[in-house]
């Protein structure tokens, strides 16, 4: 556990593409039953979208809320496992697109689905040490799932961005504490030349997702003296609907504290953006003084847990940009053929 303090979120933004595919449409192609899908539907990136474009959209929304001069942003870290270039940072594309160039630091991070929260921890450190005035942490992915694989029902697209600086007038939330928990656990991976990840099915639950999230959360709660009653919202990484609810049940947290940040059923698993979009959805409705516990999860494996306290600035900044719920409602359904075209699965010779 690390007591942070002196670090605050000044602007936040979530982005999801407009296209959706229903799980039952994917199931129709692969002969799966209409019941028991891990989510109801998921977002699908447009044919002209990738992790960089979605990172830019989320960053622009965060900037609208922060209301700062983008040239004050000294570091941009983008967590993603679907970066458009193997070599060339997404962060510089974002910097140029939001008018933050020349920025001091920009790099891409990879830790499966938790690279975005890792970006928050790094930016928080840079701000706290006084090396930068503001930093931009982003999680963005156009997630890959092999056609016919279980991941295809959930692998979705989206981005979330947070502008972090010292707490002052107008900050929307203070990051009070952080804890991390990482081990070498081979539950999910992708080799450099492969387009789709591999995973170890049921092994991804107990020794991977649950062990690491619970490890990070317990460290935060027990070592820092937070009690469950002091936390108003819990946001867990949500590769499906079942896993975060199981964590809540284990921790004896009521579903009413989890539901506001649980959007996987209508969005899917947006990988590096996944838990962060849950946080965006909570910030869209939380009140000053309330506390949020965020716990990400990245295969490989690790979890970052944060305690975030909402500040008065949320009231004036929240509606400077559309809420995530508006983007979730604004959708165009596609069939499986269109989905394949949008995801660039049609081979053109």
């Amino acid at each position: 556990m690390v007591k942070l303090g002196d670090v605050a979120i000044h602007g936040y933004g979530g982005y999801i593409p407009r296209y959706r595919i229903k799980a039952e449409e994917i199931g129709r192609i692969w002969g799966q039953d209409k019941s028991g899908f891990p989510v109801t539907e998921k977002t699908v990136a447009g044919i002209d979208e990738d992790a960089a474009t979605m990172a830019v959209e989320a960053a622009r929304t965060a900037l609208r809320r922060a209301g700062i001069d983008p040239r004050k942003i000294g570091a941009i870290y983008v967590g993603s496992e679907s970066k458009p270039y193997a070599v060339k940072p997404t962060g510089t594309i974002v910097a140029e697109a939001i008018g933050a160039t020349p920025t001091k630091l920009a790099a891409d991070l990879e830790f499966a689905c938790k690279a975005g929260s890792e970006a928050i921890a790094i930016i928080a450190g840079l701000v706290r040490s006084g090396q930068i005035e503001y930093g931009l942490a982003i999680g963005a992915d156009a997630a890959q799932g092999r056609p016919g694989d279980a991941l295809e029902y959930t692998a979705a697209s989206g981005a979330a961005a947070f502008i972090i600086g010292k707490p002052d007038h107008g900050a929307v939330a203070e990051i009070e504490a952080w804890s991390g928990y990482a081990t070498d656990t081979p539950d999910f991976w992708r080799r450099p030349s492969d387009k789709y990840p591999m995973h170890t099915a049921r092994f991804t639950g107990e020794p991977a997702y649950f062990k690491h999230i619970i490890g990070a959360v317990k460290s935060l709660l027990e070592n820092d003296g937070y009690s469950l009653s002091e936390i108003d919202y819990f946001v867990f990484h949500q590769p499906n609907v079942k896993f975060p609810l199981a964590v809540a049940k284990y921790l004896k947290v009521g579903q009413e504290k989890v539901s506001p940040g649980l959007i996987a059923n209508l969005v899917g698993n947006t990988y590096s953006a996944c838990s962060l979009l849950g946080l965006v959805n909570v910030l869209d409705q939380a009140q000053p003084g309330q506390r949020i516990l965020l716990a990400s999860y990245g295969s490989g494996a690790g979890s970052d847990a944060f305690v975030i306290r909402v500040l008065d600035g949320i009231l004036e900044k929240r509606d400077l940009a559309p809420r995530l719920a508006e983007l979730i409602e604004d959708k165009i359904y596609v069939d499986y053929s269109t989905y394949l075209k949008l995801r660039d699965e049609i081979l053109m010779r």
């Binding site: 447009g46 044919i47 960089a52 140029e96």
Partner: protein
Amino acid sequence: MRVPGYWRNMPFLYRLAGWKCVHCGAFHNYKPVVCKRCRSREFAQIELPASGRLIAYTTVRSPPKEFAQVAPYAIGLIELDDGTRIISQLTDFREDELRDGARVEAVFRRIRVNGDQGIIEYGYKFRPALRRS
């Protein structure tokens, strides 16, 4: 691949940033030597508004080879909120949303992907505005 040209045009492609003639108001996406309209040599750096209304559009069904993957696609004539008119690809729309005067907003998208090894060119496209006031 036209990397230098793409790089020089990034401020306009990424942020609709360019140069406005201080005498006649004409917009230039590169800093010109003289104004294309009034021959003035005085310019101010500006960013165009990222929203406007759709005036007209057409659908491209026989695209150049480099855009074959995204066809069919729509190209629109857009009047931005400051009155500047620009041409842009349209994206994320339902056909019934492309009506005269429809509110549109700029988004950041892939414009051209130069094969498996070349540069990915990003820039603006317009889509129906989320808040359709």
